[in-house]
């Protein structure tokens, strides 16, 4: 999961550095904007066949937060 998420975040925004902490904040550390994050959620929904309500978007703060969310919701 971690490997997939890291590769995807780089595809969404190629300016993401090669190495970064899993807890790096998408916006302040990795430079993603709100449009990137919408795509991020769309990609995750598709990969894990998961319906993510728009109100949950704010929980996707970092790779680590994403993993936590997915672990809780896909079991």
């Amino acid at each position: 999961m971690e490997e997939f998420l890291i590769s995807k975040i780089r595809k969404i925004n190629p300016r993401v550095p090669k190495e970064f902490s899993l807890t790096a904040n998408f916006k302040t550390d990795l430079g993603l904007d709100s449009l990137d994050l919408i795509e991020w959620v769309a990609v995750i929904e598709q990969k894990y066949q998961l319906e993510i309500p728009d109100k949950d978007f704010e929980q996707f703060i970092s790779i680590q937060h994403t993993i936590t969310y997915l672990t809780e919701h896909i079991g």
């Binding site: 595809k11 449009l35 919408i38 795509e39 769309a42 990609v43 319906e51």
Partner: protein, 325 residues
């Protein structure tokens, strides 16, 4: 200035074979003869048809309730007085079972409307299989341009699908429409939408298309608000595309939509096209987001089995469209 976008490496394109399909066509009995040429074209394309007729006095809701999911798709022809929102509940029939079938709504006000649609659909079905080509269109706004860039990037990631990014920052409306009228497989628009057209390209209406003759598109997908709505208009933009022979099918929303939902559609449509999906109905089923809010607002207008292949010379002509980066 440079010419168009790239990629004539068509031999590398991944393309799924078109499996045999069975379509249910439901139409008023007075139009039975007019639909025959399309049935023949379907048959030549490996699509078998079952035709059911109804009387114009019949209640359309009752007619819709008879559509069985044993078919692969359904085309419902009916009175042009009915707005798309009031005929079907979404782009496909869905119940508690997992199977969904795409359903296209074709509003006709006269037999001439049906003839126009049939002629357009026949042209699109007679195209050589293999080249699914896509034009990506967007209103000049960072939000929509960014989505267009992403979609282009995704489509070009692995295989070499012919992709043309003709967003509003790169070319004027007339050039964009000339590009579409070369006969590409599909066009996908992001931006604001209205019942009478796209806000992008300084306002795009049906007459902008009909003023420029050319070949029909397989399908036009408007990932935006309202292009299949009839609020304060006669025929909606999505319907008008069909009735005027601009495309064999259209996909548009009957209400407002959310950018988050349209982004979901865009990401998924890109992946589905990459997989080699090559008809509108299959594209909608494969790419449909899980959340109901994302698909409930959309309708298929016209042929749900419209192929997304280009006509023979479309790629050459589309490569000649001038864009100004």
């Amino acid at each position: 200035m440079h010419h168009g976008n790239p990629t004539l490496m068509l031999s590398r394109q991944e393309c799924l074979p078109v499996p045999e399909k069975h379509i249910l066509i439901i139409l008023p009995d007075i139009f039975l003869q007019a639909i025959r040429p399309l049935v023949i074209a379907y048959k030549q394309n490996g699509i078998s048809s079952t035709i059911k007729t109804y009387s114009l006095q019949d209640h359309l809701d009752t007619v819709v309730s008879t559509i069985s999911k044993k078919y692969d798709a359904a085309l419902l022809v009916g009175s042009g007085n009915r707005a798309p929102r009031t005929v079907l509940n979404g782009p496909f029939l869905s119940d508690n079972s997992s199977k969904r079938i795409p359903v296209g709504w074709l509003p006709v006000k006269s037999e001439e409307n049906l003839h126009q649609f049939v002629n357009t659909a026949i042209k699109v079905h007679s195209r050589k299989k293999g080249l699914v080509s896509t034009a990506i269109l967007a209103q000049r706004h960072p939000r929509f341009l960014k989505m267009a860039i992403r979609m282009e990037t995704i489509l070009k990631e692995k295989n070499h699908l012919p992709v043309y990014k003709w967003t509003s920052d790169l070319l004027v409306q007339e050039e964009m429409i000339r590009g579409l009228r070369t006969g590409l497989g599909c066009a996908i628009y992001f931006g604001h939408g209205r019942p009478n057209g796209w806000v992008g390209y300084y306002g795009t209406r049906i007459h902008h298309f009909t003023n420029i003759p050319g070949e029909p598109l397989g399908a036009v997908l408007s990932l935006c608000c309202l292009t299949a709505s009839r609020k304060r208009t006669g025929m909606s933009f999505s319907e008008a595309l069909l009735i005027n022979g601009v495309a064999a099918a259209a996909f548009g929303a009957v209400t407002n939509t959310l950018h988050t939902d349209n982004t979901r559609w865009a990401v998924r449509i890109s992946d589905s096209l990459k997989k080699g999906i090559n008809t509108l109905g299959d594209l909608i089923l494969d790419a449909c987001p899980l959340g109901e809010s994302a698909w409930r607002t959309y309708r298929i207008i016209g042929d749900p089995l419209a192929p997304l292949f280009s006509c023979e010379k479309a790629i050459i002509k589309a490569n000649q469209v001038k864009v100004y980066p």
